[in-house]
């Protein structure tokens, strides 16, 4: 205690040092019984932990969590997520937003790496799913830009490239997330895959997805068709678009070189034939980018911008203007920026209590005042850092 107090007096320790319990050591974690995310409210549940329901977790929230967190929950045998202000504020705006012909409302979550943006999006997504909204979520867009090996020239959008594998994976994920809603959705236009094959108007969305999964080369076209349907307004319920790491949509470079394309060079073709493929040239990314525009009704988009999805020249930035760049900012403007702040003293204390109670913090030092102060100081309120460091304690 003396070291923590000395550092606090010298202003070398952030106020998290004050989060150490005055009673000494850890106390019980504050959990709420309310497991339904849409019933969490700003005045009662902020800073408390809640246990997500099994159905919500498997369908929605699990995809927004880091693999380390999912593994931690599996090992401990229990799950607890923190209810925080950003998700509840977005949830409040979205509750009354459906219908009325209002254009797509866009939120951009920003914060340092590991501050908890994806989990906030997961809370919003779970709440909207329980309200009956359609969910369109993208988690790995920046990985599509780094690791694509199979690219094909696109037939439905000439001049661009398809990533068939990722399209199939996304369609499967989309189907698993919206299994209750999808049987009721119908396509309003005729979808022509090529000169010979087409799906008639009035067929169900499940048929379109099944066709694309059976014929992977049309998976990106299927994604484009479904997104066109959403933008037309043929979906009776509101749509929530969640896009993690949205700043990758405006990358001018990527990990994919031009010669990853399965084509022969045209006669007399000049460089830049080995140039990087940009985000604008991928059909899958462009399709989701269209959903982030504000020219459609009955829906909302929640995005996050993260240094994790930044190119090498912007790795230290975390503000939206810097990560999105001129083009991205102009495209998304106007949007509602939502700052995901580091843990406050109460949240930090609660989190440490939960880690101790669930048995993840095994060292005796972690139960002492000095140990808790040190954990708070080392992580500096960053949720991801605390998760990483607590693995050692």
């Amino acid at each position: 205690r003396s070291i923590a107090n000395w550092l606090l007096r010298r202003r070398q320790l952030s106020p998290f040092g004050a989060c150490v319990n005055r009673r000494g050591g850890a106390s019980a974690a504050l959990l709420t019984d309310e497991s339904a995310p849409e019933r969490h409210s700003l005045d009662r549940h902020v800073g408390l932990l809640y246990r997500p329901e099994e159905a919500d977790w498997q369908a929605v929230t699990r995809h927004f969590c880091r693999p380390e967190l999912v593994r931690l929950f599996d090992t401990l045998g229990q799950r607890a997520l923190m209810v925080r202000r950003p998700a509840l504020e977005i949830g409040e705006r979205l509750a009354g937003h459906a219908g009325d012909g209002r254009p797509c409302l866009r939120f951009v979550l920003y914060g340092r790496r590991g501050s908890g943006k994806s989990l906030q999006m997961g809370h919003v997504a779970a709440a909207c799913r329980r309200r009956g909204w359609l969910l369109v979520t993208v988690h790995n867009a920046h990985l599509w830009m780094r690791h694509s090996r199979e690219l094909h020239e696109s037939a439905h959008r000439p001049g661009m490239f398809d990533t068939a594998g990722y399209g199939c994976i996304w369609l499967r994920h989309f189907y698993a997330m919206n299994q209750e809603i999808l049987p009721g959705l119908r396509v309003t236009k005729e979808l022509s895959w090529n000169a010979k094959e087409s799906t008639p108007a009035g067929s169900s969305w499940k048929e379109v997805i099944d066709y694309a999964l059976a014929r992977p080369r049309y998976s990106c076209a299927a994604v484009q068709f479904l997104i066109d349907e959403i933008k037309l307004g043929s979906v009776p319920m509101p749509t929530l678009v969640c896009f993690e790491v949205a700043n990758c949509l405006w990358w001018h470079r990527s990990g994919i070189k031009n010669d990853a394309i399965r084509r022969t060079p045209l006669q007399g073709e000049e460089p830049p034939w080995r140039a990087d493929i940009t985000a604008k040239q991928l059909t899958l990314l462009d399709a989701f980018k269209q959903l982030l525009d504000s020219d459609w009704n009955n829906g909302a988009a929640v995005m996050s911008v993260s240094p994790q999805g930044a190119l090498f020249d912007r790795l230290r930035e975390w503000m939206p203007r810097k990560l999105l760049g001129d083009e991205g900012f102009a495209y998304l403007d106007p949007f509602v920026p939502v700052y995901v702040e580091p843990y406050g003293p109460a949240e930090m204390s609660n989190m440490l209590n939960w880690y101790t109670e669930s048995g993840w913090l095994t060292s005796e030092a972690a139960a002492t005042d000095a140990g808790r102060a040190e954990l708070a100081f080392l992580s500096d309120g960053n949720a991801g850092e605390l998760l990483r460091i607590a693995g050692e304690w």
């Binding site: 070291i3 380390e68 090992t75 045998g77 972690a366 040190e374 460091i389 050692e392």
Partner: protein
């Protein structure tokens, strides 16, 4: 240099220091008047640090100011060895884990290793907790989950009591079993563990293979403990030559 110090000490004994305390000057003089090392050769020999005691918790923390320590306190002039470069003053600091980490450092990149060790200790927790969840109730209490204690047990189980040293005598090379210092035995344990966790031909991360090896070693299984037992076996086979020991 030593003559200068002796002269300074004698002057101190004669007059009081500026800080005004006889006890301080006497203590300082006592240190300075220690018999210096006489260098016989023109080559500079490394001066022995002397039998200075280790830094203990009652000694002043070098990271804090010392204004609160009274001037007459012997802590002001007590000769202690300075703490190590990576000896941090934290409730969570463990000397064995710290030395273990230092053993793995390549090209001085200790910061990189910090992350590996954090992940490795989390991995130990995952392995042991999964094992504990699957175990029957009577065995649950015996499974150790804390990674620091698992590392201590593993290092203890891998530490050899004797080591083979090669002695060339009468035209023959003998393998002589010799006793070890504690620090050397610990180093041997680290080496066994490091080599056992070096998995060739797979793309497994170090933290994963090292965690698995530590858990195995804490249960007296695995390649590292096997290496130690092989060494003990060789010592037992060559025990006839134990008297050829030089040191």
């Amino acid at each position: 240099m030593s003559q200068l110090l002796l002269g300074y000490a004698s002057r101190l004994l004669g007059c009081q220091s500026r800080s005004g305390s006889a006890a301080t000057t006497a203590a300082a003089a006592a240190i300075l008047s220690q018999q210096p090392v006489r260098h016989k050769s023109p080559l500079q020999k490394v001066r022995k640090r002397g039998p200075f005691p280790e830094w203990t918790k009652t000694d002043p923390d070098p990271h804090l100011f010392t204004r609160h320590i009274p001037k007459t306190d012997e802590r002001r002039t007590k000769a202690v060895r300075p703490p190590g470069k990576y000896q941090i003053f934290s409730v969570h600091y463990d000397p064995i884990v710290n030395s273990f980490a230092g053993h793995f450092v390549k090209c001085g990149e200790r910061d990189k290793l910090r992350d590996v060790f954090t992940q490795m200790m989390a991995e130990i927790k995952h392995i042991q907790m999964a094992r504990r969840n699957a175990a029957p109730p009577e065995e649950k209490a015996s499974i150790e989950v804390d990674p620091t204690r698992v590392i201590h047990k593993a290092v203890e189980n891998c530490s050899p009591l004797l080591i083979i040293k090669h002695v060339f005598r009468g035209g023959f090379l003998y393998k002589v079993p010799c006793p070890l210092r504690e620090s050397e035995s610990q180093m041997r344990a680290f080496k066994f563990l490091r080599i056992a966790s070096n998995v060739r031909g797979t793309k497994e991360h170090l933290y994963r293979s090292l965690a698995r090896e530590l858990v195995n070693a804490s249960n007296n299984e695995g390649k590292a403990v096997h290496a130690k037992l092989q060494l003990h076996k060789t010592c037992e086979e060559n025990r006839a030559y134990a008297n050829y020991r030089i040191t």
